[in-house]
């Protein structure tokens, strides 16, 4: 067969098939639109995260060193860097130039010398705001934190001595983006330019200076490349710590990656459900073409030529449906930001996603062909003798062909899953789960329908009897429709259950009870006074616990020096830094003991370690850790390992010590509380006067950022839920539409036997309602299993069954199918019986 003839046949075969073409295109388009939109939304979620996480580092990549930055940094590949800046941070004493009676004249501050356009992300809020930080910093002007002014009782415009030079205080710094981590800050911040630092004479003298090179990269990929490059340079990697903005919050990033994978797979699932719809449409379509196929065969077309015609047709329609879907998905990305307004930053959504469009189109076309394989094969097997005997059905496929078909389907399913998941294991697990669910849905649906079918024998009313029996009739073709429908329910309800849980999780993770600020270094004697100040500032939910500072001296009697001998700076830090040992009798409610017990055994000085901290140190239950507390060596025994929900933002410790063990050690208190918004400065002032040693850490900002990101996630899941709901409706009509040809003849026959149109419609409604009921029951079960799995295994959330929504889903599926069934058969109900029966 020539290519021209193939095209001619293709064109002629598409005539008069508009409604089928529409269904086909719709089924596929919905799924592809979901894939494209999810890719875009995931991108925008990531974009949103970037816009909020980048400021935590103020750059894309940062190189931190305790020594002068290595010269190798001058050879950084220029194409990976858009801008760069340099920081030096160190602690020093500064003093007021004019001393006042009764006021301390010098304090410890944290100096930050800046060169270049720092920060790349976020802003340093200064007062006066005009001109920003860069506008205020000159070789003889500096900017300081308001608490410094209060503590030295200075004013803007006054002078401050740093090193051997006097500087004018040009303004106040109110917030800086990369100073949010709750690390101990030795004193108020002072900003100065690198030139000013040179003038102060301190540039070369201070031993504990931190050097930082900040890089802004042209794009996200470059950041990863740059970090990789830096880590490969021996001169750089040996002395520095390289960070990218994504490392700012690894837990959150992992969560978002998981969510992206999850959303991508749900999108694939809606595409697969669309594929099931496509299979229904093609099956019904080709069933109507069996006569034409037989005629083609009689006129001399070989089976493979017949196959080629319909394969080309399917591929063409698949491509059309996929392109429509890609367009729809792109349109969604245009519309979604408009609807969401300020929730999603507009800049984060790029509606034109060429890669996503390509991927969606390829997946859509592939899935159309995949699901069309069996019906196409059946068309090839239509025997030409059907021209003489209308009732002759296509020959059954051989066992080998069937096996080959299943193998092809399985291979393709794995292929598209791996592509969409972007990772082999996830793809394999996903495709295995889908295959398992489909087979299970099929088996359950089959058992249920034949059970209901037997129930039909005992019905007195013919409508019920007929409807029930037609469910259980072998070869009724309802099974595939039921599985497609059930799969639709799994996706729609499953997504809804998940988004509901994630939304309520938002409330759980950011309860109104979460603290908004911390105080550290509260001395035991100061506590009553601090408590009073907190009360005056309307603080609520004040909680405090004593803690002791200590360093690890030995683990299992091996001295720390020996343990860290071969470690790099970063790993060494876990051993050598000063630890806060929280003293608590009970385990906090948002901690879970994973191993061992917090039992306060006699004769054992117990400590409990946080899981990841224990992993880093390589210790477990039974290990002995000796802490050096102010020169005193105290051996303690690990009796439990805890998981900590850090996102609860409550007071948490890597190390908990049971009360009584460290009673003699010098302790301080850590305090958490909620402060009404706007009272921060007032509290800071009040504390600065009476308790200058106490540090106030405000976590409201961090909390709001994390909350923003989770809200976006929930939103993405909700949008996807909308897609799958549309997919579900399309599948519903496709499944119903697939059986209408058959029904038309049945209805005509019933009418000739004297059944009224209304009674025939009633019979259809009951029959379709039963199909919907079985699909709804099976699908709801599947959706709950899916939601349970994702929530408990992937998201580590607790699980609560939602009975009412599940029941509603079953009812809605049943009613929806009944309505769709009657609507889909309206024409069949109206046609005169003679026209139908003569045609057969």
């Amino acid at each position: 067969m020539s290519f021209r003839l193939l095209l001619t046949l293709l064109r002629r075969e598409l005539r008069g098939a508009q409604s089928r073409v529409l269904f086909f295109v719709a089924c596929l388009a919905v799924g592809v639109a979901a894939v494209v939109a999810v890719a875009g939304l995931a991108d925008s979620v990531q974009g949103a995260m970037q816009s909020e996480a980048r400021p935590m580092l103020a750059a894309d990549v940062a190189v931190t060193s305790r020594r002068m930055l290595p010269e190798a940094l001058d050879q950084v590949p220029p194409e990976l860097v858009a801008e760069q800046a340099e920081l030096r941070v160190f602690t020093t004493m500064v003093s007021a130039v004019e001393q006042q009676e009764g006021v301390i004249d010098s304090i410890l501050v944290e100096l930050k010398a800046v060169e270049g356009p720092y920060p790349f992300y976020g802003t340093v809020e200064v007062d006066p705001a005009a001109g920003g930080l860069a506008g205020l910093l000159t070789p003889d002007q500096i900017v300081v934190e308001p608490s410094l002014l209060r503590r030295l009782q200075l004013q803007r415009g006054d002078s401050l001595r740093i090193g051997d030079t006097t500087f004018r205080i040009a303004g106040e710094v109110l917030a800086e983006p990369d100073r949010m981590e709750a690390s101990l800050s030795p004193g108020p911040r002072v900003f100065l330019s690198m030139d000013a630092l040179e003038r102060s004479g301190l540039a070369g003298t201070t031993g504990r200076m931190t050097y930082k090179a900040l890089y802004k990269t042209p794009d996200v990929e470059s950041a990863t490349k740059l970090a990789g490059w830096l880590e490969r340079q021996p001169d750089i990697a040996a002395w520095t710590r390289v960070e990218t903005w994504t490392e700012g919050n690894p837990g959150l990033r992992r969560g978002i990656e998981q969510a992206e994978t999850f959303l991508g797979l749900v999108a694939l699932l809606s595409l697969l459900v669309g594929g099931a719809g496509v299979a229904q449409v093609i099956r019904a379509w080709l069933a109507r073409r069996f006569d034409a196929v037989a005629t083609f065969r009689c006129l001399g077309l070989t089976p493979s030529e017949v196959g080629r015609v319909y394969l080309a047709q399917t591929a063409l329609l698949g491509l059309a449906g996929s392109l429509v879907g890609a367009l729809a998905g792109t349109a969604c990305l245009l519309v979604v930001p408009l609807m969401l307004g300020d929730i999603l930053p507009n800049s984060a959504v790029d509606p034109f996603q060429p890669l996503a469009i390509l991927q969606g189109t390829a997946l859509g076309t592939g899935i159309a062909l995949l699901f069309a394989w069996a019906p196409l094969r059946q068309a090839q097997l239509v025997p030409p003798i059907r021209v003489m005997r209308r009732t002759v059905e296509p020959l059954p496929m051989s066992t080998g062909q069937r096996a080959a078909g299943i193998a092809l389907l399985a291979a393709a399913l794995v292929g598209v899953s791996v592509v969409q998941a972007g990772d082999l294991t996830t793809g394999l697990v996903f495709s295995g789960a889908v295959a398992f669910v489909v087979v299970l849905l099929g088996l359950i649906a089959d058992r249920l329908s034949s059970g209901l079918g037997r129930l039909g024998e005992r019905q007195d009313r013919w409508v019920m009897r007929h409807a029930l029996r037609s469910l259980g009739r072998p070869g009724a073709g309802t099974l595939s429709a039921m599985v497609a429908l059930a799969l639709g329910v799994v996706v729609v309800l499953g997504t809804w259950l998940l988004q509901h849980r994630v939304t309520s999780q938002l409330g759980d993770a950011f309860p109104d009870t979460a603290p908004s600020a911390f105080l550290i270094d509260v001395q035991p004697a100061q506590w009553p006074g601090v408590e009073q100040v907190l009360g005056e500032m309307d603080s609520r939910r004040v909680q405090s616990a004593p803690m002791v500072m200590g360093r690890i001296a030995a683990i299992d009697h091996v001295p720390t020096e020996t343990l860290v001998a071969d470690l790099d700076d970063d790993a060494r830090w876990a051993y050598t830094r000063e630890q806060r040992l929280g003293i608590r009798a009970d385990i906090p409610s948002h901690n879970t003991i994973k191993e061992g017990a917090w039992a306060h055994l006699d004769g054992v000085d117990e400590i409990s370690l946080e899981t990841r901290f224990a992993e880093r140190l390589g210790v477990g239950v039974g290990s002995s850790i000796t802490f050096d507390i102010q020169g005193v060596k105290v051996p303690l025994q690990v009796t439990s390992i805890r998981d900590v929900r850090w996102e609860s933002m409550e007071m948490n410790f890597f190390v908990l010590v049971e009360p009584g063990v460290l009673d003699d050690a010098p302790s301080s208190r850590i305090v958490t509380f909620q402060l009404p918004e706007g009272n921060e400065a007032g509290l800071q002032d009040a504390l600065a006067v009476d308790f200058p040693n106490i540090t106030l850490i405000n976590v409201r900002q961090i909390r709001d950022q994390a909350k923003g990101i989770l809200e976006r996630l929930a939103l993405a899941i909700r949008s996807l839920g909308g897609f799958t709901a549309i997919a579900g409706v399309v599948i519903l009509f496709a499944s119903v539409g697939a059986s209408t040809t058959q029904r038309a003849r049945q209805i005509a026959l019933l009418k000739t036997l004297g059944v009224t149109r209304a009674a025939a419609a009633g019979m259809l409604a009951v029959e379709y309602a039963l199909v919907g009921l079985v699909a709804g029951l099976v699908g709801t079960l599947g959706a709950n299993v899916l939601a349970w799995g994702v929530q408990t295994q992937l998201m580590r959330l607790s699980w609560e069954p939602l009975v009412v929504p599940s029941l509603l889903a079953v009812v809605a599926c049943s009613l929806g199918t009944a309505v769709a069934g009657v609507i889909g058969n309206l024409r069949a109900l109206q046609v005169k019986p003679r026209a139908v029966l003569r045609g057969s």
Binding site: M1, S2, L5, T8, R12, E13, L14, R15, G16, A17, D291, A292, A294, T295, F296, R297, C298, L299, G300, L301, T302, P303, S304, E305, P383, P384, I385, V387, M388, R389, R390
Partner: protein
């Protein structure tokens, strides 16, 4: 009178058994005959006598349980699906009781289709289709779809299509079975006229003795066996 050359159709010991539940039914039982080129043959017999099965076996649409069928020298009983398809494309024309026009093709496209399958240039195919449609009296209806034509018109289009590729053999299965008398008459006239022009062999299944009477040869079947053969053919059985 038969020339010593090989006959157009040669059937030897043709048997077709069908399984129906546990039973085996013999639909066609050891049938043998030869038909010479250019003859018109009617296969007659009551319902269930095996007429249509015989026709299907001649066309290679069904496989015999035993025996051989040679058509135009081709061993139809031994050919695979692809070989049969190519053979049908070049050598066989069909007319069916239920017309079997392709519903998404216009009348002219239906007639053109066998020519297109043989890669005939489009202009030539269109001219031949138009000429054939004129011969069957449907010159003005070429652009109509089957659904827009009456039953008789549809069958005449089917007749035109059957002759399009100038086949050596034309098989017809109750071509007037779904038509009333006068309409059926016009279809038969068209068949006669085109057979006359092309000189092909026609084998027609009918239960109507009046139609059978128009043929050169009449093969009477009963219960799957040849009851008798009238006219100018040779029974080898």
């Amino acid at each position: 009178m038969a020339p010593p050359t090989s006959p157009a159709i040669s059937v030897r010991g043709l048997t077709r058994r069908l399984r129906s539940g546990d039973r085996e039914i013999t639909v066609l039982d050891d049938v043998s005959f030869d038909i010479e080129q250019g003859r018109s043959v009617a296969i007659l017999g009551p319902s269930g006598s095996g007429k249509s099965t015989l026709l299907a076996l001649l066309a290679g649409l069904d496989q015999p349980s035993a025996g051989e069928v040679h058509v135009g020298g081709q061993p139809v009983h031994a050919m695979d699906e692809d070989a049969l398809a190519r053979w049908r494309r070049t050598s066989l024309g069909f007319v069916f009781q239920s017309f079997q026009l392709l519903d998404t093709f216009t009348a002219r496209e239906n007639v053109m289709f066998p020519l297109e399958l043989l890669d005939t240039p489009p202009t030539e195919a269109r001219q031949r289709a138009d000429a054939l449609l004129e011969t069957v009296g449907l010159a003005e209806r070429g652009h109509h779809y089957p659904a827009q034509l009456s039953g008789g018109e549809q069958q005449r289009v089917a007749v035109a299509r059957a002759f399009a590729a100038k086949p050596g053999i034309l098989l017809a299965d109750e071509p007037t079975g779904n038509l009333d008398g006068p309409t059926g008459g016009r279809v038969l006239e068209a068949l006669d006229r085109l057979q006359h022009e092309s000189g092909c062999t026609i084998v027609m299944v009918t239960h109507d003795p009046a139609i059978g009477a128009r043929a050169d040869v009449r093969i009477h079947l009963r219960d799957g066996r040849i009851e008798r053969i009238d006219g100018d053919a040779r029974s080898a059985g």
